[in-house]
Amino acid sequence: MQLVKRGALLASVAFIGSLAAPIVQAQDTLYMPSLTYRTGPFAGGGTPFADGYADYFAMINERDGGINGVKIVVEECETAYNAQKGVECYEATKGNGALAYSPLSTGITMALIPKAPVDKIPVFSMGYGLSAAAIGEKFPWTFTYPTSYWNQLSSILKYIDSNGGIEGKKIGYIYLDVGYGNEPIPVLDQLAEQMGFEVAKFPVGVKEMQNQSSQWLNVRKERPDWMIMWGWGAMNPTAVKEAAKIRFPMDRFIGNWWAGSHSDLNPVGEAGTGYLAANFSGIGTQFGALEDVIKHVVDKGESKVASKDTVGNVLYNRGLFNAVILAEAISVAQEMTGKKVINGEDMRLGLENINLTDQRLSELGLADFTGPIKGSCSDHEGAGSIFIQQWNGSDWERITDLIAPMNDVVRPMLEEAADKYVSDKPDWQTQACS
């Protein structure tokens, strides 16, 4: 009993301490919170992403002494991909002068979108979250560069179309049965009508991620010509394995950009040979920026990566790319405001005016890493392009050039969705763009 009391005492002392001494950031740094999920069922993807994110900023600090001389402080907060914990992390870190949040989970993104205009901290959900947030007029504080789920889907469909035509074909859509997987369905349905193909949908419950045989039996029954997957975490390797089991042709099976990482296919190995996936960030370490990361961070033992092999893999590079865009936005903001130490509002301006041209990407050591991205007041998405990569049994290989989305079709749908989001929120903050 004595022990209990003492423990309780210690805990309460520590607790009071934590309230009394919030972490105060020095005035001359840029504070960048990192909501990570190194735990939980999706940790396999969250870990390399968080590493890439942290390592890029570490490299900038190390190599350049920060952005225009101001060091970046990255603080991780573990969300386990859980909305409650995500909100808790947000509340815990926003007071430290956070410049932007990359929430990573759709649930956390949805929770933070309405908070962004109030706290004046932009939300940067890189290619995930709410697709409609691409509309800058309606979502001044939210960004989804380089593209949105909806546009990505259109790019994938274009790829299918260019490989034997899509008209009259049957496309199977297997997805994680949560908001994330359900989100692209309106676009899929609309484009099916427009491009003349048939759709069959196969939802996979979160609890059934590793128990997909029914879905794949249904796939076998429906006999689609192509399969598109909106999967995540443990769902992906299981799906590829099940596809192999029913002998679905792997080169007709395309994952979205969260279903095509090394951690997804390593457990599958040989059986997954030929599997395709969309991506928008380069694979490998042959880019200048990555070489610098290895030189300045990883080799010095300052990275959290479990092994050096992780550097350059799909999700590591995506985390790094997330940091690249934020870093670029910071420097744009610094230039526009003339301030060295910026705040969330400046950051929003920087994100909105981002312009990553091919030339700029080369300067950053990222030539051919991704397509150019240009934002504007109304375009918070950039309608960027993707490429398709293929699994060769042990590694990913990029097999296509950049494929542009069908923005002309998708953009009106995005606008409609944005209108709908705003419609039941009378005091929603919008902005006018000329």
């Binding site: 009993m1 386990a80 007071g95 309405p114 989100e183 039941d424």
Partner: protein
């Protein structure tokens, strides 16, 4: 010595039956309420309010709900998360259909819907007891989760599948949505929780609550005393689910601001059950103690390493937190299976007999 009832004579049954017959308890509650209503909003930081007090109060309310069912009526339930979800989605639909009605009305009404659902899933309790019943409540949990996803009407056909909370006023102060200040939200929740806890205490000490406890302790004897098991069990399910539903509505409207299915998953059911068991089954005080322990401990544990300047991966901390909570749960179950509430009682008895440790 310090906690002495000697000299406090009751001259009427009414006084003897009061909620807090002892003066010390009345002072204690007064201090707690003063702290909650005055000191905390005045001195608490925004982080303290939003990440500690608000979730703590909401979880406490849900724990009160579950405790009514499990601790007082003896029906083990693993469906709390889903019942909270029913409240949240009901509240969301109510605000869409009746945007002009005061949000407080919606929050309180939303509990009615989860009470109805609770009654439906409580029906098996008439034939099934104990662990078997617990597993059937899992059916409620998983079936409702599926409904939250598949019935798109529930989230207004939103593409993201999430429900978002609009800003709503109460007497001119925004109390829900992103624009609501932490203090306003805190006051709203605190008021609801305080009033509902008082109501629970009243019901529990009266005819209805006694009926539940009779069913819990000895259902056959209860029936032979004229308690109708059907009515008693279902009313417990309804009452409990009402509390869970309101807690769910508050969780989404005053804390998270948006939610999708995963906010009401099975882990929440476990979390609330932990709070009830660690706090003490059959004790309202225990609900609050349990909620404080289970919610606050991880928050504190996460803060400790960075405070001490240790460079530990967030994930490592998370894993260690998980292990520690698991061990603590087992430890407490071994040391005091009746939870914090009993520890508190023992402490009070000690204080009463102080300085004579062996008097009983």
């Amino acid at each position: 010595m310090f906690y002495r009832e000697a000299g406090q004579y009751k001259t009427s049954y009414a006084a003897d039956q009061a909620l807090l017959p002892l003066a010390q308890d009345r002072y204690g509650i007064a201090i707690v309420l003063f702290t909650a209503f005055v000191l905390i909003p005045f001195f608490g930081t925004s982080f303290f309010l939003v990440s500690i007090m608000i979730p703590f109060l909401i979880y406490s309310l849900a724990a009160v709900g579950l405790n009514i069912l499990t601790g007082y009526a003896g029906q083990l339930s693993l469906g709390t998360g889903a019942f909270m979800g029913v409240g949240a989605y009901a509240c969301y639909k109510l605000t869409t259909y009746f945007p002009d009605v005061n949000i407080i009305v919606h929050i309180l009404l939303s509990g009615v819907f989860s009470a109805l659902v609770g009654v439906v899933f409580g029906l098996p309790s008439l034939r099934i007891k104990g662990l078997y019943l617990a597993i059937t409540t899992l059916a409620a949990q998983f079936f409702l989760e599926w409904c939250f996803l598949r019935i798109r009407w529930l989230y207004n056909y939103n593409d993201s599948g999430a429900i978002e909370v609009p800003n709503r006023d109460w007497f001119g102060i925004t109390v829900t949505g992103a624009e609501a200040s932490p203090v306003a939200r805190y006051f709203l929740i605190l008021t609801v929780v305080a009033v509902m806890t008082l109501i629970a205490a009243n019901v529990l000490r009266g005819r209805i609550g006694r009926g539940w406890m009779m069913i819990r302790d000895m259902d056959i004897a209860a029936e032979l005393m004229g308690i109708r098991p059907l009515r008693a069990k279902l009313s417990a399910f309804a009452f409990s689910s009402y509390y869970c539903g309101v807690a769910g509505a508050l969780m989404v409207f005053c804390w998270l601001g948006s939610a999708e299915v995963e906010s009401f998953d099975i882990n929440h059911s476990f979390l609330i059950l932990f709070m009830v068991i660690i706090g003490g089954m059959g004790s309202l005080t225990g609900c609050f103690l349990g909620a404080a322990f289970i919610h606050v401990l991880p928050v504190v544990m996460r803060a400790v390493p960075s405070m001490l300047g240790w460079d530990i991966l967030a994930s490592t901390v998370e894993h260690i937190t998980q292990i520690v909570i698991g061990l603590l749960i087992i430890f407490f179950l071994i040391v005091e299976p009746h939870g914090f509430a009993r520890l508190w009682q023992v402490a009070k008895e000690k204080l009463r007999t102080w300085p004579f440790p062996y008097a009983t």
